[in-house]
Structures are given as structure tokens and as C-alpha cells.
Amino acid sequence: MSRAHGTLVVLLAVALAACASVLGFKRAEDRSRPFEHRAHVLKGIACTQCHEKIRTSTRESALDLPNTARCVSCHEKPHDTHECSTCHGESSAREEAELVHAQLRFDHGSHQRATGGDCARCHQGVANDATARLLPKMATCFGCHKHRDEWDVRKCDGCHVNVSAEEVTPDSHVVHDGDFIREHGVRAASNRDLCASCHDDRSCAKCHGVTVPALPWKLAVGDAPRTTGVHLSGFRSRHPLEARAQPGLCNTCHAEQFCVECHTQLGVSATAQNARSPHPAGWISATGGAHATEARTDPMSCAGCHGGGGEQLCVGCHKVGGPGGSPHGLGFTSSKDKVREMPCRLCHGASR
């Protein structure tokens, strides 16, 4: 191997090591480790030998996490002077235990008695793998506690102090990081009670309200940038393209005339004084022009500026007997009374 090749290999190795560190891969000796529960279990050490107050623990009792003094009662020659928990046991596991202790109406004492002291019946990860998460899944609770009725009526407060404060998300919650705008509606349609476990009505109203005070990112300025959503970054420049790409999507949150206020200020609304036309050449021609196709594929864009009083601009040509002809597509039907009801009467009304 030439010297140049050797240098290249060394540089590549350094770069890979740097990348591995940035990506979150760590060498085992560099990090605190999950506590070695399995090793203790295999040596036949009872859980209560370390967690000695767990048998009598109540809801009000403090967390029974062993301290260094407890460890050295057996490990008489610790290999350094640091607190054992510095390396043995992850801080995230302790934080999780504290959160659970604060948020669940649960006591270990009564469960110890009910299970005959068999901790692994709930903490199944203890005997399997040192990296397994120790907090039991809710399905484990349901193995003994038949809460079907409470589950069906979403009555969670028998066990949970405040579900939303737990900040524990269900596995399916990953949709929030994916294409949230598209996916949340179809999943929330049947599962509103599940969403309502954490999100109140304000969460919906911030987008589905008829008025909103500002683009959402502006009210979140200074927070970490959002990774998903429809109104991100330079949305104001993109919004005509975004609307045309997904006709009807704007309607799912915004009312028919949502656009008119801004467009009137910009002088591109049918209701603005001395309005300038935003439409390209060929928009209206003797044979129809581009407006016919655009209106049929994205009527919300038309309604945004021409709704209400602006409709008269369309009716002038498209009324019955007018030069614009029928705007209805093939097979169009309606249950409305076309002489009396809106919007039919605009063109079909008796006075016409």
C-alpha cells in the first residue's frame, strides 16, 4: 500500500468515526449503560434485595431506586469512587421512572402481594435482555385488569393522573412526523376520543377555525422549526402552486371567502377598487379560454376572490341564454329547486 493510500484510509476511518458519532452511534465504553438487571437475576438475587422497600411501597412512597451505599453492601470493592449510577443505569430510565411515578395512580406494594412477589410477571424485560425497556406496556396491565368498559368510554383517570402531561405517545403517533396534514384527518375521523386524550378542541380550532390570527409558524417563531405541515417557511410565495396541486385541500380548513381580504389589499380581488387582473393571457376567449378548465379543477380559487358579490361577473355570461353557455359538467345533477334556491336562481331564476 502506497503512502497516499495509507493516508486516505486513515482519513476515511477518521471521517467514518466522526460520522458515527454525529449519527448517534457510540462505543459501549463511552456511555452509561442500562442497569445489569439480567446479570443480577441470573445470580439468583431477588429484586427486593436491592429494591428493599418495594413490598410496602404505596402511591405516596418515594421511588425505590438503590443508591451507591446499597450497591457496595455487596460489591465491597467498587472499581472507582464515582456514584454507581453515573455509569450503571441510564439517566433516561430514571427520568422515565420518575415521570411514571408522578403520573400513574399505582403502588408496587399491592401488586407485590397480588403477584406473589414475581416482579418479572410485569417487568418482563428484566430476565431477557439488559437493554430491554423495563416499563411494562399498557397491554401487560390489561392482562390482569379488565378495563374494557373504561377503555371504550376513554375514562383514563382511574390510572392516569393526566394523560397529556405524561407526554407518552402511542406507537401510531409517528404519523405526526410523517405527512401530518394528509394523514391526521383520516386517522382522527374514527378515533377522535383517542386524539382527545391529549389534544383539546383548541388544537383543532387553530387550523379549522374560520379565522386564524397569523400563519402558524409566525406564532411559533423562536421555537424549533417544524418538520412537517402545510404552511412552512415561504408558504406565502408558494400558496398558489400548493392550492393548484391539490384542489379542494384548502377548503378542508378555510372558508370559501378566506382569501378575499389579503387579495383585496393586494388589489387582485374582484371586489377591490381599480383591481388588476392576476389572470394570464388567454384566460377568457371567444371559445372559452383557460378559465373554464381552471374553474372546474379548482373552484375554491375562483370563490376565494369572486365569491359573494363577485359572482355577478360569471353570471353575466353564463346565465341561461347568455353567451357563456352552460358551465355544468357532463352528468351534473342537483336536488335543488333551480328557480328558488341559491345558487341556481342566479342564472335560472324567474326574473331571468
Binding site: 423562536g222 410565495s237 341559491m342
Partner: protein, 383 residues
């Protein structure tokens, strides 16, 4: 009014906490200022929540509106809820509507739920038009804790005329721990035909999630049927695609999505690739990049977005966002639309936060824009 609401339902015990937040925002770009106040409180069987805002621009007078202002009463056994006030009514398959009214939800332990609602839809002018009302409801059944099916109906009148009459059905199923299925469809009874139908199937396995979806939308049926622009008939837009989430490394998430589209009979598609790299295990700091391509009908553009955020000390956070959009057909509105934002958030105490930002862009309307934003937030919580 918010204070009165909170006092009226002030708590007798610690949980859940009552909380309120007030946010003031100044924006030199739109020369506007706004204040948003929101809060919620609960006391035994009663709870209340509110979200109100007021604001003004240089050219428009002071405006105020309530997005949510509602009180709810809950049966202690969870069998019934009653809501009164202004809220967003979501009726399964039929699109959400903001109303002033009342709703009653009854849950039977058998998994049957019945919800009925009536009220006046909130309209943009801030008032209620003559004879404006909405009534509807939903019936759903949970089957073996894994499947939920629902049926909905909504009728809405505007100025006495029929604005919407729709029925809908929705489904959610988790046949296995790794599989989520969901779908909903609404049918317009006024101009008979499907208004909107969506379906999604997602598979979760370790560090991957794969989702396939399909959408069918009839835009003219999504407008109120009192609008002149609802009379075109069925010119649907359709989309079929999928997206993949991959946890490529402990701190690196990657999303890849793509879809084929049909808009008024014109075929096209869109796709995006997104990645986020957390700068620490908790993800307090992160950098992200997103590439997008949209190519359907007259909406054809390519964009790239880069974000970065990092906390400094415990109280200070700095963030930046950069975006560049290149339209295929700029129509003399600039060949590229760059946008940039740099922001700093400072939260020295849990009760208040100050954030400032500068935003610069070249938009279709202006060759160069420079705006400043300032936000002050106050937080209150009583456990």
C-alpha cells in the same frame, strides 16, 4: 371573559392543571400586531377552554374573534359529554365545522357511541346570517377494541337555502400491532356524488414505517352548495402514493414520499425526500433538509428547505430556516423565490418567553422583502 371562565371552573384538586397562555406578536411585514389568549380549566365534571385573538393591521381596524370558547360537562363514568359554546365539530368522515351551538355525546360500555350536534356555523364576517344553522350526528361502534366503524350525517342551511347535505362513513382498524388501517368517505346528497374519500394503510416494523394512501376529492362538492362555484359537477382530483419513514441511525430520521396525481384529468405527481439529524440524544438541537418536486397541471416547481436549531445554555435557542423555490413557469414573477429566517428564543423563566426573528425573501409580489417579528409569551399554570 377568559378569566371569568377560569374562575367559574376553578379546580378543587390538583389534576388536571389549569393553564393559560397569552402571546403578543408584532410583524413589520404585514404591519400588524396581534394578541392570542388561550386557556383551559377543569373542576370535577366540568371543564372549559378558550382561544381568542385580537389584532389589527395598518389598513384594517382592530378585529377580534374567538376560535374556541366552550364549556363541557362530563358524566363521572365517562358515559356522556355535553359541550356548549363555540367549538369545532368533527363528524367522522365529514369535514370539521366551527359552530356556535351544542353537542351531546353518549358512550355505551358496549362500544357504541352516539353524537348529535346543532348550532349556527361561524361565518367570516363574525356574525351569523339569517337562517344559518347546522345539524348532524354520528353513530359509531367499536368491535373487539380493534375496529371502529362510524356513520355520519350533516345538513347545513345558509340564508334558508340548503348549503350542504352529506352522509359519510369512516373506519379505523388495527388488525395486528404492526398494521394500521383507516378510511373515510363522504357523499354529497345535494349534487349526488362522492365529495371526498381517503384511505390509508400503514405497516410498522422496527426502524421502518411504510404507508400507502389513496385520495379522491371533488372540489366543487367541498364548497357550500350555495356557492356559484359548486355547480361545475364532478371534476375530481385523485392521488395514490406512499411514504416511508426510516430511522437510519440513532439520531437520523429519513422520510421519502411520492404520489401519482390526476387533477381534472391531467396526470402528474409529486415527491419529497426529508431528513432530520438530531444534534444530541434528546433532539433539542437538530438540522434538517427537505427536497420537493411538484409536477401536475399548472403546479410545477422544485424546492429545497434547510432548517437548523440549537439551544444555547438552558434558556436560549437559536434557529434558522432557508428555502428556495424554483417554479417551472414563473410568469414574470421572478425565476426563484428564496426565503430565509433567523430567530432567537429566550425563556429565562417558566412564566415568560421572548422571541425575535428577521425574515427576508424575494416573492412573486416583491423583489425584496425584509421583515422583523417579535413575540412575547406569558404562561400560567395552576396545579
Amino acid at each position: 371573559m377568559l378569566a371569568a371562565l377560569c374562575v367559574a371552573v376553578s379546580p378543587a384538586r390538583a389534576d388536571p392543571p389549569n393553564e393559560a397562555r397569552a402571546t403578543a406578536l408584532l410583524d413589520t411585514g404585514s404591519r400588524s400586531g396581534s394578541v392570542v389568549v388561550e386557556g383551559s380549566a377543569a373542576n370535577g365534571p366540568m371543564s372549559g377552554e378558550a382561544l381568542v385573538w385580537t389584532g389589527a393591521t395598518q389598513t384594517t381596524p382592530l378585529t377580534a374573534n374567538a376560535l374556541t370558547f366552550a364549556i363541557a360537562m362530563h358524566d363521572a363514568r365517562g358515559l356522556a359529554d355535553v359541550r356548549l359554546g363555540r367549538f369545532v365539530f368533527t363528524s367522522g368522515a365529514i369535514r370539521p365545522v366551527q359552530i356556535d351551538g351544542a353537542s351531546v355525546l353518549v358512550r355505551a360500555p358496549s362500544g357504541t357511541k352516539v353524537e348529535a350536534v346543532a348550532g349556527a356555523p361561524v361565518v367570516l364576517s363574525g356574525g351569523v346570517q339569517d337562517f344559518d344553522w347546522l345539524a348532524g350526528g354520528r353513530v359509531s361502534q367499536t368491535i373487539a377494541s380493534r375496529v371502529i366503524v362510524g356513520l355520519s350525517y350533516v345538513q347545513r342551511r345558509s340564508g334558508g337555502d340548503l348549503a350542504d347535505e352529506e352522509v359519510g362513513t369512516d373506519l379505523s382498524a388495527t388488525p395486528a400491532r404492526w398494521l394500521d388501517l383507516a378510511g373515510r368517505a363522504s357523499y354529497d346528497l345535494t349534487a349526488p356524488g362522492i365529495s371526498e374519500a381517503l384511505a390509508s394503510a400503514a405497516v410498522r416494523a422496527g426502524d421502518f414505517r411504510v404507508e400507502l394512501f389513496a385520495i379522491d376529492r371533488s372540489p366543487s362538492r367541498l364548497l357550500p352548495q350555495t356557492s356559484l362555484f359548486s355547480i361545475f359537477g364532478d371534476f375530481p382530483s385523485q392521488s395514490v402514493g406512499g411514504n416511508v419513514w426510516w430511522k437510519a441511525a440513532p439520531r437520523l430520521d429519513v422520510w421519502l414520499s411520492g404520489a401519482g396525481q390526476s387533477v381534472g384529468g391531467v396526470y402528474g405527481g409529486n415527491g419529497s425526500l426529508r431528513a432530520r439529524l438530531k444534534l444530541d440524544d434528546r433532539g433539542d438541537g437538530a438540522v434538517g433538509v427537505e427536497l420537493r418536486r411538484q409536477d401536475v397541471s399548472t403546479a410545477r416547481w422544485t424546492g429545497v428547505r434547510v432548517t437548523a436549531t440549537r439551544p444555547f445554555a438552558r434558556t436560549l435557542r437559536a434557529s434558522t430556516e432557508l428555502e428556495l423555490v424554483v417554479p417551472d413557469d414563473p410568469q414574470n414573477k421572478g425565476s426563484a423565490w428564496p426565503w430565509a429566517l433567523v430567530s432567537v428564543g429566550w425563556r429565562p423563566h417558566k412564566t415568560w418567553e421572548l422571541a425575535c426573528a428577521v425574515e427576508s425573501a424575494s416573492t412573486p409580489e416583491h423583489t425584496f422583502e425584509f421583515n422583523a417579528l417579535a413575540r412575547l409569551s406569558l404562561f400560567w399554570e395552576k396545579k
